[in-house]
C-alpha cells in the first residue's frame, strides 16, 4: 500500500531522516521505534506531506505528491503526537471535521453515511457522554481520544499514529490498542505507528522499523527486529535487563 523509497529529510545542515526505505502492506501494523531524536515524528509528518523531503513515497503505486490533499486524507488518517485546541469547539464538532475530505465545501453532506461514522467513532472511543462538551474542558486522555475519533470518522485505509498511547491511562491504552487491532482486521487496511512502549509494540505490531539518529537500524517482522541485540545497540543500554527489572518489582 505504502512504499517509502530513499527518503531523506534535512533541517539546514542536520539530517533528520537519512535515506530511509520501507514498505507497508495490507494487514500490517508497522511499529516505528527508536530513541528520542531518531526522526520518527518527522517521518510521519513527511508522509503526511508536512515536511519537504527528497526521495519518493508511493501510495498504491502513485507518487504521494500527486494526490490532492483531500484525496490523500481519504486514504491516510494521521493522529499527531501533540494536539491542542485554542477555541471552545465541542467534541462532536472536532470529530465531525474528520469527514471534511469526503464532503469538502461549505455544506457538509449528510448523504454519504458520514454522520453514522461520526456516531460510531464517538461510541468506539467512549466519547458519547462528552459529545457536547467543550474540548477546552477535556483531560489530556480525553483530548487524545477526541482526535483518535476524528481519524476513525475520516475512515482512511491507512492509520498513521504518532504515540497513540500519549496521555492514556492503562484502561484506555488497552481499549484503544484493541480497537485499532480490530479496525485493522478489515480488508484493505494497514497501520503505521510510533511507539515508545516496546511492550505495546511487541504485543500489537506485526512488523517494525527501528530507527537510530535518522537511519534505519533494523526492519522486518516484529520478532526479528525487537531483539536484545538490536535494541541494546540502538538505545545504548541493556533494554531487556531493564524491562525485566521493572517487571520483577511486581513479584
Amino acid at each position: 500500500m505504502l512504499n517509502v523509497k530513499n527518503v531523506t529529510v534535512r533541517y539546514g545542515e542536520h539530517t533528520i531522516v537519512d535515506n530511509l526505505s520501507f514498505r507497508l502492506h495490507e494487514g500490517q501494523w508497522l511499529m516505528l521505534a527508536g530513541p528520542n531524536g531518531a526522526g520518527k515524528s518527522t517521518l510521519i509528518e513527511t508522509i503526511s506531506q508536512g515536511v519537504p523531503y527528497t526521495g519518493t513515497i508511493e501510495l498504491h503505486g502513485r507518487d504521494i505528491r500527486r494526490y490532492r490533499p483531500n484525496q490523500l486524507a481519504r486514504k491516510i488518517g494521521v493522529l499527531a503526537q501533540k494536539n491542542s485546541v485554542g477555541y471552545a469547539y465541542t467534541v462532536e464538532e472536532v470529530v465531525g471535521l474528520g469527514r471534511y475530505a469526503h464532503t469538502p465545501g461549505f455544506l457538509s453532506s449528510r448523504s454519504d453515511g458520514g454522520k453514522d461514522l461520526v456516531e460510531k467513532a464517538l461510541e468506539l472511543t467512549g466519547l458519547e457522554p462528552l459529545r457536547h462538551s467543550s474540548v477546552l474542558t477535556l483531560s489530556g486522555g480525553e483530548l487524545q481520544r477526541t482526535f483518535l475519533a476524528q481519524v476513525f470518522a475520516q475512515d482512511p485505509e491507512i492509520l498513521i499514529l504518532d504515540e497513540p498511547a500519549n496521555h492514556l491511562d492503562l484502561v484506555y491504552q488497552k481499549h484503544i490498542f484493541s480497537l485499532i487491532h480490530e479496525w485493522l482486521r478489515q480488508p484493505g487496511r494497514a497501520v503505521l505507528s510510533v511507539v515508545h512502549d516496546l511492550s505495546l509494540a511487541k504485543r500489537y505490531g506485526t512488523h517494525a522499523v527501528l530507527k537510530n539518529r535518522g537511519k534505519c537500524a533494523a526492519q522486518g517482522a516484529i520478532e526479528d527486529v525487537l531483539t536484545p541485540e538490536h535494541l541494546s545497540g540502538v538505545y545504548d543500554m541493556d533494554v531487556y535487563a531493564w524491562m525485566r527489572e521493572m517487571l520483577n518489582q511486581w513479584k
Partner: protein, 343 residues
C-alpha cells in the same frame, strides 16, 4: 460543561438583524439636528417606493447626509469584524485581526502619501486617497507574502505574523516621517489616520458593498476550513484541507476588504479584534455561525461608536477611531480578565 453552540438557534440571527435595524434608525434620528422616528420612517418609505416625501420632513439630512453615512459605517463595521473573525480563526490567534497582516498599515501609508502630496482624481472627492490606499494595500500584500515565502517556503503562520508586525512598524515610521514634512496637510492626515466617515456618500457604499459581497462571500465559503485552521494547521492538513491554497485565498480576501475599508474610513482599530471575541461568547467558535454573527455585531458596534463620536462633544465631532479604541481597549481588558479568571 455544556458548550455555547448547543444553545444556538436561528433566533440569534433574527435578534442581531433587529438590533442592527434599531441601531441604524437610531443613528439616522440622533445628531446635531434631532429627527423624529416617524419622519425618518416616512422619508425612507416614500423614497423606497419612489414617492414624493411629504413637506416638513428634513429629507436632505435623512437621505443625503445620515443615511449614506450610516450605511457606510455599518458596512465597514461588518467588514472589519468579519476580517477579524477570519484572521483569528486562520492564525489560531485570538489577538489577530485584519491589521495583523500589516495590510491596513500599507493602505494607511498610501492614503497618507496621497494627502501629503495632494494626489487626486478630478471630480471624485478623496478619489486619489482611495485609489492610493487600495493600491498600497495590494502592494503590501504582495510584499508581505513574498517576504514570508522567501523566509519560509511553507508560509507558516508565525512567519506571516512576524513579517506583518515588522512591516507595520516600518510603515508607521514612514508615515511619521511624511507627517513631519507635510506642513499644512498634517492636520488633515492626523484626522484621517484616526478614522472618519463624515462626508461619505452612496458611491462609497457601492464600493464597500461590492467588496463585502465578493470578499465576504469567499470568506464565508471557507467557514469549514477556518474551523479546521482554528483547531490547528497540522490537523487541517491531516483532514485534507489544502492548507497553503486556503490560507492564500483568505489572506487575499481579507487584505482587499481591509484595503477598501481603510481607504474610505481611515484606520479604525479594535473592531476586528474585540467584536469577534464578544460574538464568540454568544454563538460559539464555529465559523459557520461566527462569521455572519460577527458581521452583525461589528456593524452594530461601529454604528454606536459613530453615534458617540458625533454626539458626545457636539458640536465638536470626534474621530470614530478614538471612540472604538477607547471603548474597545476597555472591553478587551474586561474580556481578557474575565476569561483568565474563569480558567
Amino acid at each position: 460543561m455544556k458548550s455555547l453552540p448547543e444553545r444556538f438557534s436561528w433566533r440569534v440571527y433574527v435578534l442581531f438583524a433587529a438590533a442592527l435595524t434599531a441601531a441604524m434608525l437610531l443613528c439616522i434620528c440622533v445628531g446635531s439636528v434631532s429627527i423624529p422616528l416617524g419622519n425618518t420612517l416616512t422619508a425612507l418609505w416614500h423614497t423606497l417606493w419612489k414617492m414624493e416625501v411629504p413637506a416638513g420632513i428634513s429629507k436632505n439630512i435623512i437621505l443625503n447626509v445620515r443615511l449614506p453615512r450610516v450605511i457606510n459605517v455599518a458596512l465597514i463595521g461588518a467588514s472589519l469584524s468579519l476580517c477579524g473573525a477570519a484572521m483569528q480563526g486562520l492564525l489560531r490567534n485570538p489577538l489577530a485581526d485584519g491589521s495583523t497582516l500589516g495590510v491596513s498599515s500599507g493602505a494607511s501609508l498610501g492614503a497618507v502619501i496621497s494627502l501629503a502630496f495632494g494626489v487626486s482624481i478630478p471630480g471624485v472627492e478623496y478619489g486619489g486617497t482611495i485609489l492610493m490606499a487600495m493600491g498600497f494595500a495590494f502592494l503590501s500584500l504582495i510584499l508581505i507574502l513574498s517576504l514570508a515565502y522567501a523566509l519560509d517556503r511553507s508560509m507558516s503562520t508565525n512567519s506571516i505574523i512576524l513579517i506583518g508586525v515588522i512591516f507595520s512598524m516600518f510603515t508607521s515610521s514612514a508615515m511619521n516621517l511624511i507627517i513631519t514634512f507635510a506642513g499644512d496637510h498634517a492636520k488633515t492626515i492626523a484626522f484621517w489616520t484616526m478614522g472618519s466617515l463624515s462626508g461619505t456618500g452612496f458611491h462609497h457604499a457601492a464600493i464597500l458593498s461590492s467588496a463585502l459581497l465578493i470578499c465576504g462571500g469567499v470568506i464565508l465559503r471557507y467557514a469549514r476550513e477556518l474551523n479546521a485552521f482554528a483547531i490547528g494547521e497540522d490537523n487541517a492538513r491531516h483532514i485534507g484541507v489544502n492548507v497553503r491554497q486556503v490560507k492564500l485565498i483568505i489572506l487575499i480576501m481579507v487584505s482587499v476588504l481591509i484595503g477598501v475599508c481603510v481607504s474610505i474610513g481611515g484606520t479604525i482599530s479594535f473592531v476586528g479584534l474585540v467584536m469577534p471575541h464578544m460574538t464568540r461568547m454568544i454563538v460559539g467558535p464555529n465559523h459557520k455561525r461566527l462569521l455572519v454573527s460577527s458581521m452583525f455585531s461589528g456593524a452594530i458596534f461601529l454604528l454606536l461608536a459613530d453615534l458617540a463620536a458625533r454626539t458626545l462633544l457636539s458640536p465638536i465631532e470626534l474621530s470614530i477611531g478614538v471612540v472604538t479604541s477607547l471603548v474597545g481597549a476597555i472591553a478587551f481588558v474586561v474580556i481578557f480578565y474575565r476569561t483568565r479568571k474563569a480558567r
